[in-house]
């Protein structure tokens, strides 16, 4: 069979093609698929990879944002080691990270209940998902209003004779962080319910029937049949939540407490914002950003390893 090549039908009288032999060979070597992905790849390099590289470069500089950066070496990273605000923020991120199992298991648990098509399950599915439709900024402002000293929640508590429970939820050093975490979980779990519900619906019903015939209990069915079947979704959601526990907190914390009282709810993405836009230390902010990305990557790797091991054990 004679291969059809571009320009084959345009052979000149002298026996040569308009394209050079080298160009033709190059085209032959590059698979057609590359040309298809090239536009997307270009955009990815331009808007993802290049800023990432630039961010790393800036982390080694002192840059106020409006004059050329000055090379500092690793000074920014050394400063991070001795910056108590960053340490406090990382500690709070660590505490929030410890609650990620709740972020994952709560929606999974609720999804398994809804999956049994309990009475009013459609309403609950919508009710659970509704907070996920609301912007985090709106959620923050809403709860900031609700939780004021004279706000509806304290008023309700006083009205119920539980006035001793009323407190300055977002200004009290003891309650501010737990309340912020609770609000973030409330705002995010609906998405998890929806994702897990879809995953549960995709599990082959015959597996449930087989488990029932084998005499498996509801818990055993979930543990040995359902969980392995939806493990990839579980892994995906866990990874997303781990990342969110580092990079998705800013809109909530900024609108609820701005990191206060004192530094009681300071988190790493808020600290980056402060360094970049309040102190105009964009080089330092970039260094903190690099640390955050590395930490998030490490945690994602750990999360994947843990969930994979769990899945293998289940299998």
């Amino acid at each position: 069979m004679i291969p059809v090549t571009p320009g084959a039908g345009r052979r000149s009288a002298a026996g040569t093609t308009p394209e050079s032999g080298v160009g033709r060979r190059t085209r032959r070597r590059i698979p057609a698929g590359v040309w298809f992905v090239l536009p997307a790849l270009t955009l990815l390099l331009l808007f993802r990879a290049a800023p990432l590289v630039e961010g790393v470069r800036l982390s080694f500089t002192e840059w106020k944002g409006f004059v050329p950066p000055r090379f500092l070496g690793v000074d920014n990273y050394i400063d991070i080691l001795t910056d108590p605000l960053i340490h406090t923020a990382l500690l709070h991120n660590g505490i929030i990270l410890l609650t990620v199992p709740v972020w994952v298991l709560l929606p999974f648990f609720l999804a398994t209940i809804l999956h049994r098509r309990i009475w009013g399950w459609r309403f609950f599915r919508m009710a659970f998902f509704a907070p996920a439709l609301v912007s985090p900024v709106i959620v923050g402002i809403f709860f900031e209003l609700m939780l004021r000293e004279n706000g509806p929640i304290n008023t309700a508590l006083r009205g119920l004779g539980l006035g001793f429970l009323a407190t300055q939820w977002l200004v009290d050093l003891d309650t501010a962080l737990p309340v912020v975490i609770g609000i973030i979980i409330w705002a995010m779990f609906g998405m998890g319910v929806l994702i897990f519900l879809a995953a549960l619906d995709a599990v082959d019903p015959q597996l449930h029937d087989a488990a029932k015939i084998d005499g498996a209990s509801w818990f055993q069915t979930q543990r040995y049949v359902v969980l392995p079947e939806i493990s990839s979704v579980l892994q995906f959601y866990t990874v997303i939540m781990v990342i969110a526990s580092f990079t998705g907190l800013f809109p909530f914390v900024y609108t609820l407490t701005r990191g206060g009282p004192g530094n009681a709810t300071e988190v790493i993405d808020l600290a980056i914002y402060r360094a970049a836009f309040q102190s105009s230390e964009l080089g330092y902010a970039s260094a903190v950003g690099v640390i955050m990305v590395l930490l998030a990557l490490a945690l994602v790797w750990i999360a994947l390893a843990v969930t994979r091991r769990g899945t293998k054990a289940d299998a």
Binding site: G65, V67, E149, S280
Partner: protein
């Protein structure tokens, strides 16, 4: 006619208003022939001009700015002016990133002092030799736009308006409590006595909100001159005076005492200062409110709600009572700067000078409640009593900039945080002072 506001920030001597106004006016006349071609004389400026601020669409001030713009365009018909309001919360980010790309406006409004003009000095035009002698002489507050907060050093902006924290009081509530509204508290101790009397009459003494963690900064600034000098404030800002010093501790203790025993409404810690808390005063729920001299949270808003005759002003606690008080803190409201990247510096300078002229400042005062910093500005006979009193106070006493003018932004935020914790009983004075000192040391 009421004469202008004259408060040379940092001045240590009393300067009679009329004398300085006369000197400035005479100087302006003599030097008028020496003004730059860009001065507001309808000179040869043309081309496109972009202006950024955070107030152009605000009621009052925005209306005044629009009127000032129209007057400028009437003088400079060949200029095509685009005036844009950027969001206040994002203003610094917008300015910094735009400066970075060289795509910033030709004239930009900035905060005076270290948190604004001086932070961006490297990217701003040195205006020292460019502004007309008339502008230089007529405006006060040059130290707040000059390198090292020294008025004789290079200036990177033109100061506009006057701003400070002022304690307003409700004369009607004072009377109801048996206090003389014409003899308000003149010292910190008298303030506490008045608070006790008001509480005895069932009236909440002070209004405010601290959800943003900034209320303490306002109070610190008005309490500071009662125990320390402007030089101390400068030392505190530079780190030569520690935040654990007795003077700072005394202010922290006063602030802690201020928040004791129901002096503020319940929920003050979770109420936003801006937007919501002035309502406590305008609704007559509290007797005193620490607001601003100009624009928002000022006499303009309070007079409208309570009536001009019911709103009093307290400044310079301790000045008249023999306390250690030694000056009234006051400074420019904003500054106008010209980025080095501007391609139309002549028009930019002409516009900035036009904005700060006596006539423009009168418009800004009348429509926006912006107290002037131009000695040639005449307020008019129908000006409300409060700005008249403030101007008179500033003329008859020494003035200097707010203590916070010397602080880095990180220190300012930490002071707010620590005083919020102190007000809610979650830290001690010693720990609060040490907390700020730690941040100060980190800033160098």
């Amino acid at each position: 006619m009421q004469s202008a506001a004259i408060r040379p920030s940092g001045a240590r001597t009393r300067r009679p208003l009329v004398l300085l106004a006369s000197v400035a006016t005479a100087g302006a006349l003599v030097l008028s022939s020496c003004t730059t071609p860009d001065a507001d004389t309808g000179g040869e400026v043309a081309g496109e001009l972009t202006v950024w601020d955070w107030q152009y669409d605000a009621p009052g001030v925005g209306d005044a700015l629009k009127q000032v713009d129209e007057a400028f365009l009437a003088l400079h018909e060949d200029v095509e002016l685009t005036h844009i309001q950027q969001g206040f919360e994002q203003y610094d980010q917008v300015v910094a990133t735009s400066m970075s790309s060289g795509d910033v406006a030709d004239v930009i409004m900035l905060q005076p002092g270290e948190v604004g003009v001086l932070k961006y000095a490297e990217a701003l035009t040195d205006l020292t030799d460019l502004v007309s002698a008339e502008t230089r002489d007529q405006l006060v507050g040059w130290d707040q736009v000059s390198e090292g907060l020294d008025a004789s050093a290079p200036a990177y902006g033109i100061p506009l308006g006057t701003q400070t924290y002022v304690l307003y009081f409700n004369k009607q509530l004072f009377e109801e409590a048996g206090l003389d509204p014409e003899a308000p508290p003149a010292s910190v101790e008298e303030l506490f006595d008045a608070a006790e009397t008001l509480k005895g009459a069932g009236i909440t003494p002070f209004g405010g909100g601290d959800a943003e963690g900034i209320l303490g900064v306002l109070w610190f600034n008005i309490l500071w001159p009662a125990v320390a000098t402007d030089a101390d404030a400068k030392d505190l800002g530079s780190g030569e005076l520690a935040w654990t010093d007795d003077k700072v501790v005394e202010i922290f203790e006063t602030y802690e005492r201020l928040h004791a025993d129901g002096n503020f409404p319940a929920g003050v810690a979770t109420t936003p200062l801006f937007g919501e808390s002035p309502g406590q005063f305008t609704r007559g729920e509290v007797a005193m409110f620490l607001g601003l001299a100009s624009t928002d949270m000022s006499y303009a808003q309070f007079n409208e709600a309570l009536g001009e005759e019911n709103v009093g002003v307290i400044q310079g606690l301790g000045l008249e009572s023999g306390d250690a008080a030694n000056y009234i803190p006051v400074g420019p409201a904003v500054a106008w700067s010209i980025p080095v990247s501007t391609e139309n510096a002549a028009a930019a300078l002409a516009y900035a000078e036009h904005l700060t002229s006596a006539e423009s400042q009168k418009t800004l005062f009348e429509l926006g409640g912006f107290l002037p910093n131009n000695v040639a500005t005449e307020l008019g006979d129908d000006a409300p009593a409060q700005p008249r009193q403030m101007l008179a106070d500033w003329e008859s006493h020494d003035t200097a900039v707010l203590a916070q003018s010397y602080w880095a932004v990180e220190v300012l935020l930490e002071v707010g945080k620590q005083l919020q914790l102190l007000a809610t009983g979650q830290t001690t004075v010693a720990d609060a002072a040490a907390g700020v000192q730690a941040v100060q040391e980190r800033q160098g």
